[in-house]
Symmetry: D2
Subunit: 188 residues, 4 copies
Amino acid sequence: MSGVRVLAIAGSLRKGSFNRKLLAIAVKLLTEQKAEVEVADLQALAMPVYDGDIEEGGFPDSVNKFRAQIAAAQALCIATPEYNHSVPGGLKNAIDWASRPPDQPLKGRAAILMGASTGHFGTVRCQLALRPTLGALGVFVLPTGVTVPYAEEAFDESGQLKDPKLLRQVSRLTEQLISFVKSYPQGL
Amino acid sequence: MSGVRVLAIAGSLRKGSFNRKLLAIAVKLLTEQKAEVEVADLQALAMPVYDGDIEEGGFPDSVNKFRAQIAAAQALCIATPEYNHSVPGGLKNAIDWASRPPDQPLKGRAAILMGASTGHFGTVRCQLALRPTLGALGVFVLPTGVTVPYAEEAFDESGQLKDPKLLRQVSRLTEQLISFVKSYPQGL
Amino acid sequence: MSGVRVLAIAGSLRKGSFNRKLLAIAVKLLTEQKAEVEVADLQALAMPVYDGDIEEGGFPDSVNKFRAQIAAAQALCIATPEYNHSVPGGLKNAIDWASRPPDQPLKGRAAILMGASTGHFGTVRCQLALRPTLGALGVFVLPTGVTVPYAEEAFDESGQLKDPKLLRQVSRLTEQLISFVKSYPQGL
Amino acid sequence: MSGVRVLAIAGSLRKGSFNRKLLAIAVKLLTEQKAEVEVADLQALAMPVYDGDIEEGGFPDSVNKFRAQIAAAQALCIATPEYNHSVPGGLKNAIDWASRPPDQPLKGRAAILMGASTGHFGTVRCQLALRPTLGALGVFVLPTGVTVPYAEEAFDESGQLKDPKLLRQVSRLTEQLISFVKSYPQGL
């Protein structure tokens, strides 16, 4: 008997990013909640910027790998920063590659969104901007997201969220994702 | 006596893209209207996906070049496709690189948006999504944009727009850009 | 054995509006598809603009009636114009009244969006703007919407859509709504 | 010699609303900064929900009054709550009435946005949603807005903002509005 298969994606590439930390917390919770979690590391994948001329020669290996990871998952857990009031170009680029035919792998996946930012809004504008894109691709994004403001102060030395309320929010959201996928295993 | 300095950017990379065609039309019109136009070619620039770990070692040359092009311009003319109801990741990525301190070069620029898509909406959702990002960076985006729907049928063999109404819209928009920059040469 | 219960709402008030026509088409299709359809007529309801001082004295009768109609339904079929690139104030106002505690009735409903406009975009921007509001209230909005552009030319004398492709889109969307509610009768 | 003419609008109707308090602070600052401020009170105006059938018989007096107030002003100062992640229906309704031909009075006005909410985000989503609507009507909305979170705790007994940083933000924003209108007295 196997758990819900979740692909975890951080929207920022740099190794020390707050959103990698936030994602690590979610991954740990998902694992404790018996999900099978795989991580798509956008820095390691190193996908190029989408270019139809590249695509004509076939998807790059990195793109094939990312698409296969999505196809193998039932759900996505995304922790992403907000760049310039919207989705980081790199994350959108990864989604753009994933969206290409044939066999667009995002269709039918569930997703949760979370994010950490150094400002007050904790990436709420990025999440607003990301929802219509994922929705258009057939992803069901759970209505609530988690936003972590003032990220420089939000994590302790071990990488844990200091604020127990925020941690509970992450835990509740990952539980909701698992429970949603169990209720609707084929997607919507 | 010199003309208004405009940087022209196509949001798609592939050589044969509809938005390169649309941009070429705008560039020709701007030139006829006595603007000095430079083109930022995102494919040739080949900027990597934004990554704080790369940035720590200094901007890549391609990023420096793109930022210098923006800094030298008074206005931007952007022709971009819509990917998944929003801004192409690659264009957003270029803007994300440009937005980094120090001396963020976008501040005070005027901009016009146009786009071509194979569907009915002609990139209107992309333009809606792009406005708050540019606005947040201190760019004044002229309120009207041009949308070219059904792009496969929109251009003739010489690359010209078949529909004279659409062509007039592009021409009016480029004129408005020039006239705006002349009225507010320091930006807003 | 009873059919899926759908509340049909036109976002414009005036009697001759294009969106009342579009809604009538959807209502007829839903009825043929064995749904039980009730109509919420925003002009007849004549809800006042939301005002906390009014609310303190209890919901107006019109608001109580609208909320009861939503509570009795499993799904919403909304045909709405676009005003100034967004949701008509009157429709948003009706939703704002419906959103108030206690027993917010929208939670768990499914919804489909359609709209007619005299311009080219057929209300796509309104639908984009309406989705996050409904999503925040626990409504599952089906990802595709129907947009009817050039509304002055779109309907024949009997009120039918002239373009058979558009009519098929409406029919497919109402079918999807019914099938969604049958699959998830308790909502998501 | 007369000051910049500003129309102040609260997006909530109830007398004790946080946004009326916030607006009062801005009005006081604008007056000290030598602007001539008039207030449009949406509760007192009591505009009906927009209805083309009403419009056909002529604008209601309340609508005529509101439109005249806008026409007489050079700039708008809007303090508005966020309802269901977007613009209050009542405020959008007022704008919809104002947007009707002939002589749409909003064109060429400058505007600043602020808002207070009881939650963490302080109406940032409302402001994001309001910008494209005002932009489409030819209003230049200054890029920065003020958001007041946790509104129950934000004001002291005299109605002043407790947090001096927030108060400075409001003061800076009203100054920017005045200085913008002085630089561009005819609008953009």
